[in-house]
């Protein structure tokens, strides 16, 4: 039971990290795309 709980915690942590990384990179891209207009 404890191992199941820790596995759930680990998978939650991975998902949260992926989500945070996606959000941060998306905001960075928005800034870069705004500053570099297309040719």
């Amino acid at each position: 039971m404890r191992s199941l709980r820790s596995a759930n915690r680990a998978s939650n942590f991975i998902v949260m990290m992926l989500m945070a990384a996606t959000t941060v990179v998306a905001f960075l891209d928005l800034y870069l795309l705004g500053s570099g207009l297309p040719r």
């Binding site: 759930n8 992926l18 990179v25 795309l33 040719r39």
Partner: protein, 459 residues
């Protein structure tokens, strides 16, 4: 249902156990294994032909008049064991089959790559071996999918049948290619009859994935699932456009049929990748192995197709190139997925939605692997935009518009995920009473803020 009956029988047998201890306990005066042991069929603690409630009566009531305690004991102990044994035996056989198939596929792929890498026997033997082995791998995939289709008796049968037809088209294309190479000894023209088979397989494979039962479930999902699909498709299109399709589009003569055929390969791969990733998310636990193998096969095929297109564009491709390993791996992955899929017995009733929901694991929660599979292309596309800017490259207008759309979609999706998991706001899957009942047990373990954490709603 069986478990409920067993617990009911146990409850009814409990007073009899208290008032009439087992023979072993009465004779030896000791409690053996908790004071209760099975007596075997046809035997009673009170002797043959006698019931604890008197002649002709049993703990099950008037309708179960001939039932004895021994039979109750048998039902409560032996039946679950037999059922569990049978289930574990089937699972064990399936695992052994999967392991044997995986070992065979890896061994053959390794042998093939080694032969091509070391150029054993010179250019012509390598080319002949390459053509024959690739055609045989495609044939193995077609036969394996056909076998899986025959063994299925539910809606998965259409999926495996269409995939078998797609593999048949690939086999036809590989045979035509081998005829050009080995029999006619001429370079394969572009376009050729082989392209008919290769490109004809793409709509068949797409139709197979669209007919998968998981897609039927996904179709009934809410707007968030649609937004996920659009985001995923945009990410895949951006990656492919940035690295393969865009350069090809800009540097090719679009008037020629050969160029259209060359572009059709990576484009078809995007469609198939998108469909596989969409299917694999809500897939049942029993079908997950097969779908992961299909995903691995499609990824290998996409990599090989894109590399092949680039090599052809540069005029550097010839039969027997290392890029051919990807196609053999792809066919063997498809064969393995079909080979390792368990059959469903004939005449089995259609699964009710609640049963289907249980089979996908915890209701409304996607497994980590499926979540990561959805995230990876999106994150890769977003990172590639930043890397392009860091390298000082200015994006062409179409690429820029695609990147902007991708970024806005990703942010909208994250915002929606955050809104759904906001404290005090009930999750989307628990707004209906039935859903709240079904998710009550798993609420504490579900990633509440996960953008892909909640699967599509069941009907």
């Amino acid at each position: 249902m069986l478990r409920r009956d067993q617990s009911e029988l146990k409850e009814r047998a409990e007073p009899l156990r208290r008032t009439h201890p087992p023979i072993g306990a009465m004779t030896s005066g000791k409690r053996l294994g908790g004071g209760y042991r099975p007596l075997g069929p046809g035997r009673s603690a009170l002797g043959p032909g006698r019931s604890a409630l008197g002649p002709g009566r049993s703990a099950l009531g008037p309708r179960g008049g001939s039932c004895r305690i021994g039979l109750i004991a048998t039902l409560t102990t032996d039946a679950p064991n037999k059922s569990l044994d049978r289930t574990s035996a089937v699972e064990s056989r399936l695992s052994q089959r999967r392991l044997a198939g995986a070992v065979g596929a890896i061994a053959f792929s390794g042998f093939f790559a080694l032969w091509l890498g070391l150029r054993i026997g010179g250019t012509e033997p390598v080319r002949d071996f390459d053509d024959i082995a690739t055609a045989l791998a495609a044939l193995a995939a077609a036969l394996s999918c056909m076998r899986a289709a025959i063994r299925q008796h539910d809606r998965s049968r259409r999926f495996w049948s269409l995939l078998a037809m797609a593999c048949g088209a690939w086999t036809f294309a590989e045979v035509v290619w081998a005829v050009y190479d080995i029999v006619l000894r001429v370079p394969v023209p572009v376009p050729s009859w082989a392209d008919l088979g290769y490109l004809g397989a793409i709509p068949l494979a797409a139709a197979a994935l669209l007919s998968h039962p998981a897609v039927r479930r996904a179709r009934q999902a809410r707007a968030r699932a649609s937004l996920d699909a659009v985001l995923l498709a945009t990410a895949l299109l951006f990656i492919s456009w940035s690295f393969v399709l865009g350069p090809l589009w800009r540097h090719s003569d679009l008037g020629s049929l050969g160029c259209v055929v060359a572009i059709a390969y990576p484009f078809g791969d995007i469609v198939m990748l998108f469909l596989v990733v969409t299917v694999i998310r809500p897939v049942r636990v029993a079908d997950r192995f097969g779908m992961w193998c299909v995903l691995a096969g499609i990824v290998a095929m996409a990599i090989s197709d894109s590399t092949y297109t680039g090599l052809v564009e540069a005029g550097k491709y010839s039969s027997g190139d290392m890029v051919d390993v990807g196609w053999v791996v792809a066919y063997l992955c498809l064969a393995l997925g079909a080979f390792g899929t368990g059959g469903t017995p004939a005449g089995r009733p259609a699964r009710r939605p609640s049963q289907a929901r249980q089979a996908t694991g915890a209701p409304g929660v996607m497994p980590l692997s499926s979540t990561v599979a959805s995230f990876v292309p999106i994150l890769a596309a977003l990172v590639s935009v930043a890397v392009e800017h860091a390298l000082g490259r200015k994006l062409p207008p179409f690429d820029w518009a695609l990147a902007l759309a991708l970024t806005l979609l990703a942010l909208a999706r994250q915002g929606l995920g955050l809104w759904d998991g906001w404290p005090g706001r009930p999750p989307a899957t628990s707004r209906s009473p039935a859903a709240s009942r079904s998710t009550a047990g798993s609420r504490s373990t579900a990633p509440s803020l996960s953008p892909f954490g909640k699967g599509p709603a069941e009907p």
